[in-house]
Symmetry: C2
Subunit: 354 residues, 2 copies
């Protein structure tokens, strides 16, 4: 870093590591995101000095000014990615630059400062290396990496933050949902909207998630596990809970198709979503399409038994088969009792986990 | 509080006060929301024990777990209200229960726990009393009160928080905008949307504000101070920056009218908005209407010189006259160079400040 100028990059070469003197025991099976590893990565930024030296330090609380704009105006964003331990005992990230590029896009939308994605990834690598004993030796579990970026501006005027904190915490992840074997039940009601044109639905800003919680509990009141998010007068199907959505069906033209809504501004450009699209396009076994899907199209297809399976995709949850959908007071069952029900979801889940 | 049961109310009778040993000097003129008083109010809640005893303590940083869901999923909300020092030297709040009722509504939408509004107000009264020397002795300045409510759940799974913190900080407020005398210039572009049906636009959740920051800076790039938020295909005018919006005009039927968009789910039910409606209805000098207003209606009225004035209303900003609007590449001037331009805004501003 050139002295006297703000540092425009966060640089891995400046990384300082302070090791914990009290490492924790590694838990066996735990609910997702409740027990964290021994260390965390923090990188501070302020408008006058730019990026400060990255620091790996013992996991601990943040000290935040009570007026900090991440707590009042949700000037905050996050990412989720994973590191796996291979059969060769080596650690590998799953497509980390896709997450970090999306994080950069979200930072721009949130008016948080730009950071160098490669340098940041190198710091994350060093953090994972520091806590490498936490990466499970398992086919079904991995290390979940949560980069977080928050404004720390200690003032109530709504403006571009003059200070910010980029930090990373780690935890083990097995199955995101409590009962992984069971297909998810979804509640589809047009009265709630996850995201809208001209909003932030294509970014991973915190605000997208806080507003989804109430509908999620209304879904539970209707006996469902997740909300199926609809959009517009024609009840387009957009996302499933916090996941992207895929429909594997025989479409209106009689073609076998795997379809997911297009990235038109209200859909999160999921890394797992992209991986599913790339993988199935490579297979070339059926048509793979980014297209609008409406509830009336889906209901007709269910009635005509043209649905082969639906599933959600996400980093924490991977591939989650969708069972029934409650819509307009009726239960619509997407899981036909045939042998190949949602076989694509199982196949993709296995492939992406391997 | 009955021992062994969660406390369902936050109770003012349990209030503990720890006084600061290092009170700060009171500043003269400062930017809004940068210098805070000597004390703050905190009330902790958790699902197993309910509300804890309210505490007034020296102003200081919060210690938050790095996974806390207010920082990742914006499970957070705030309110803004004011206390004035009257000519009789007594302190008065401006309609505080309206803010606290709205806060309760927002808490419900955010899946944060219910609290007793009257007990909470009593705790706020005690905080203001503790820092009463900070309430300006001025017609043009007052004490701004910022209740904040955040999830403190230290876990990454997106769910109803099991712990939360309700807190209040105070600062002096004079003029919210730097140059109060100048009417605000607004940038109206349909490419950004502040809020959507089925979203949280009628609540004061943090996420509503974080997503408005980028458009706000794009407004500045277009030479304007604030974004004028449009909605839908017909470019309805909804809000002005973080304020409710009023149009004082001769309407299509030749009637003098004060109009503001109705509370249809995308408009914040502002306390100042309500006060303007009540006050002008009491005056009975012109028609006062909650109705949809589109940009084409406004542009036609501007062309026909039927606009008497536009202004924004909000707690921090009070009544702010709107000058010109940039829309579809053209500057539309809402301030006619006549003597009574925006005289209603001035009159309301004086009345609400008195």
């Amino acid at each position: 870093m050139v002295s006297g100028f703000p540092s425009l990059r966060c640089e891995a070469a400046d990384l300082v590591i302070e090791l914990s003197s009290t490492p924790k025991p590694k838990p066996d099976v735990i609910p997702f995101g409740t027990v964290f590893t021994d260390h965390m990565l923090t990188i501070e930024w302020n408008a006058s000095e730019g990026w400060q030296a990255p620091l790996i330090k013992p996991f601990g609380n943040l000290s935040l000014h009570p007026a900090t704009s991440s707590l009042h105006y949700a000037i905050q964003l996050y990412e989720g990615l994973k590191a796996y331990r291979g059969d060769d005992n080596k650690l590998r990230f799953f497509r980390p630059m896709l997450n970090l590029k999306r994080m950069s896009n979200t930072a721009k939308r949130a008016c948080l400062p730009a950071f160098d994605e490669s340098e940041f990834l190198e710091c994350i690598r060093r953090l994972v290396e520091t806590d490498q004993d936490w990466v499970p030796n398992s086919d079904s579990a991995s290390l979940y990496i949560r980069p977080t970026f928050i404004a720390t501006e200690p003032a109530l005027g709504l403006r571009k933050p003059g200070s910010a904190l980029l930090y990373v915490i780690l935890c083990q992840v097995g199955s995101y949902f409590k009962n992984k074997a069971e297909p998810l039940s979804m509640w589809a009601d047009p009265k709630y909207t996850r995201a809208w044109k001209g909003g932030t639905g294509d970014c991973k800003m915190g605000g997208n998630y806080g507003c989804s919680l109430f509908p999620q509990y209304e879904a539970e009141e209707h006996g469902c596990q997740q909300a199926l998010w609809l959009y517009g007068e024609d009840h387009q199907i957009t996302e499933a809970g916090t996941m992207n959505l895929f429909l594997h069906w025989i479409n209106e033209d009689g073609e076998e198709e795997l379809a997911t809504p297009p990235l038109d501004g209200i859909i999160l450009p999921g890394v797992t979503r992209l991986s599913v699209l790339e993988l199935t396009r490579k297979w070339g076994e059926f048509k793979v399409t980014e297209r609008y899907l409406t509830m009336s199209q889906l209901c007709l297809a269910l009635k005509q038994q043209r649905v082969k399976g639906m599933f959600g995709s996400g980093t924490a949850s991977m591939i989650c088969p969708i069972g029934h959908i409650v819509y307009q007071g009726e239960v619509r069952d997407s899981s036909r009792p045939t042998e190949d029900t949602n076989s694509l979801a199982k196949r993709l889940g296995n492939k992406l986990n391997s």
